[in-house]
């Protein structure tokens, strides 16, 4: 039942590295992570790969498979032609640590920059009442497994290290959208700060993030575009602009 698969694995670290060819057994129904594990157990005991649940729920085994950002545990070997060589490389937008493992700490830093949920003070535990339809909008974004494939594929940072400082990335735009649409959150101006502090304006909605999301979250259509539209409404609201002018005159 087992057949041989040609696998090409990037091996190395921050200083140096390259693609190594190996032949490995593959059985019916196996995913790319299975064959990487087989290589690890039989040929390369120190091959570094990050993984946890092997069921598409934790988002650890993110890598690029034939150039596409994917979860190795959810990519069937059978989805490639039998004679095709499968090439696995580390995520490109983040610095390599070793082999297929990258330093994704950028994402955790950005997570700490997004202002937290603010619960209404007058609402005691157990008193909250929300409609299912109202929580579903935010629930879509809370499905995120933080695989960071969207961050990796986003061209704003993929090839532009210099943008990382001022750009939170799609994962955190859906976090902001989730809080913005949360029926109870009290913090104001989330959309405005998304634009002014987290780089929402740098996104030019090419939808690459939506395409790679393993949870099929409509990142662009349901989070980014609605926020961008509202930001435009707020920023170019003639009534507000007039009020702003009055204020400025007063100051002068």
């Amino acid at each position: 039942m087992a057949r041989k698969l040609n696998l090409r694995i990037w091996r190395g670290d921050a200083t140096d590295g390259g693609l190594k060819d190996v032949q490995v057994d593959v059985n019916e129904g196996e995913v790319v992570l299975d064959v990487i594990h087989r290589v690890q157990a039989t040929q390369m005991g120190d091959l570094a790969v990050r993984w946890n649940c092997k069921a598409g729920k934790c988002g650890s085994c993110s890598m690029e498979i034939n150039g596409k950002p994917r979860l190795a545990c959810m990519t069937q070997v059978a989805s490639f032609d039998e004679d095709e060589t499968i090439t696995v490389t580390p995520l490109r937008a983040f610095p390599v640590i070793k082999d297929l493992v990258t330093d994704v700490s950028f994402n955790y830093k950005k997570a700490m920059e997004i202002p937290a949920y603010e619960h209404p003070k007058e609402l005691a535990p157990g008193e909250a009442r929300m409609e299912q339809v109202d929580v579903e909008r935010s629930q879509e974004f809370r499905k995120c497994i933080e695989c960071f494939l969207c961050q990796n594929t986003c061209h704003v940072i993929r090839d532009h290290e210099e943008n990382k400082k001022s750009f939170a990335g799609p994962r955190f735009f859906i976090r902001i959208a989730e809080l913005d649409m949360h029926p109870l959150d009290k913090l104001k101006n989330r959309k405005r700060t998304a634009q002014e502090e987290h780089g929402l304006g740098m996104c030019n909605i090419t939808k690459c993030c939506t395409e790679v999301c393993p949870e099929h979250i409509k990142i662009t259509d349901n989070a980014i575009i609605p926020m961008k539209e509202r930001v435009v409404d707020i920023k170019y609201d003639p009534a507000r602009m007039f009020a702003g002018l009055l204020k400025r005159e007063k100051r002068n």
Binding site: G29, A55, K57, S60, M74, K98, M112, A128, E131, V135
Partner: protein
Amino acid sequence: MTLERHKYDVLVIGAGGAGLRAAVEAREAGLSVAIICKSLFGKAHTVMAEGGAAASMGNVNDNDNWMVHFRDTMRGGKFLNHYRMAELHAKEAPDRIWELETWGALFDRTKEGKISQRNFGGHEYPRLAHVGDRTGLELIRTMQQKIVALQQADGREFGDMEAKMKVYAECTITEILKENGKIAGAYGYWRETGEEVLFEAPAVVIATGGVGKTFKITSNSWEGTGDGHALALKAGANLVDMEFLQFHPTGMVWPPSVRGILVTESVRGEGGILTNSLGERFMFKYIPDVFKDKYADNEAEADRWYEDQDNNRRPPELLPRDEVARAINSEVKAGRGTEHGGVYLDVSKRIPAEVIKKRLPSMWHQFYELAGVDITKEAMEVGPTCHYVMGGVEVEPDTAAAVGVPGLYAAGEVAGGMHGSNRLGGNSLTDLLVFGRRAGAGAADYVKSAGANPVSDATIKAAADRIEAPFSREGGENSYSLHAELQEVTHNLVGIIRTRTEIEEAIAKITDIRARSKNVAVAGGRKFNPGFHLAFDLDNMLLVAESTAKSALLREESRGGHTRDDFPGMNNQWRQVNHIASFDGNQVNIKAQPLPMLPKELFDLFDVHELEKYMTPEEIAKGGSN
């Protein structure tokens, strides 16, 4: 090179639900806290919990309350539970769920806008708060984000978000350190670089989860290697009830690479039925006497229950997990299994496709993408998978303090006692919230009175030498092959069905593998080297397997997650006994210890005729401990 050192008041090992809840509590008590994760922050095995979190909020059926929940938990555990843990859990679970809502969690709702609750095996009323079938992910994210919120508050107060609480990711702890008989900290290495690190802290909370990777077929991720169980044993703590392992009845069986991955119990809670290869709905044959008056013995009544729960008994698919797992095992052994050695689980006939996709979205994806099965149209093939260890660190129920080691605390799956011989689905997520909080509070109180306990240079050197050892050997054993051997032994000899001769064989083999593991050599450097990581995980799994096998050998009865072919019945004398495992530096020793008796007020919550099924006439006559 100088050793990396950190000082904290409380060190939390493990960043799943219990660890994060403990960290929040200790930080809110004003202490500094380090959180250690073996993987990245937010990837803990808690994310795999699908069904929900059991709490008697009574949102769907207002007959529910803590007393009904307590009774269900004790029945599920076949009365081997530590009554005080089951009591605290049942009483505090609703508050812990509502608290999550104040931190931003978004559970599914009822029509009145309250938190929705679903049916689950062994729970008398709909009781599980849930978010589709990804409830564990919601818990982890909510607490992960709560920790960020606390860090942001620290940032405003101290000018540094990580001044008082910091998450240390991809760090493995190899040893818990003691000085003068009390906790002093922990020692470990960074998975990324292989460099060593010392954490000094007078209190350590162990929240490392389970031991599934000791077995061949498991729903657990690579992290479930019993680290906390082994660390605690080596630090002088005890493990209680290690013979009890939960084999979840429904893991995937096909294709082979996903064998063991969990199929949530919600599939049955939502109306899924189990059939064998003859098309027979076999669970009606497997209702044990103790559950006869709560479960329907015919299809018509079982089907009516979904519409009218007050006037019908529950379908037997919703029996506690140990019963369903044994039933499936028996069907397959009798030759009535599916092509791939499982049974069929079907929701497609009872529930419309769009409802399945809405209520069980990740199950639909899992089967569609990994097995090519559309569960809205066809049946799933399922079979038992090692899912949860009921046994764990022996703790004081109120504070989660590990018995015998001042400064050590344990919560969540790594702690024992709460679930007795079998855990009910949904009780794990609230267990880790209730006892995670209590462990954080217990540790905080301890630190406030005990103060610092510095680590000596001699202790540090001993811990460092142990890490270096596998690199200095050449041509020794391969940790991957030893791990595979261990998994074969546990699976075949101390699995779902056990007998004396097989357990004895297992103990001999585990002892042999442990002797050979002392000779594991590691190829390559220290930097992110999985072979090196496995060498340490293997050591932990071997201690766990030894504790399980030795406890299993002594318990001459069948109860919950421990089934002896040579002692098939439940024995009321054995219900009064816990097995306590301890480590003498050389091997694991087991002693029998009396289980604390229920006090009268809890005893009286049950019908005495029900208790007669579990207790001896002398216990019944006493009517409680007070």
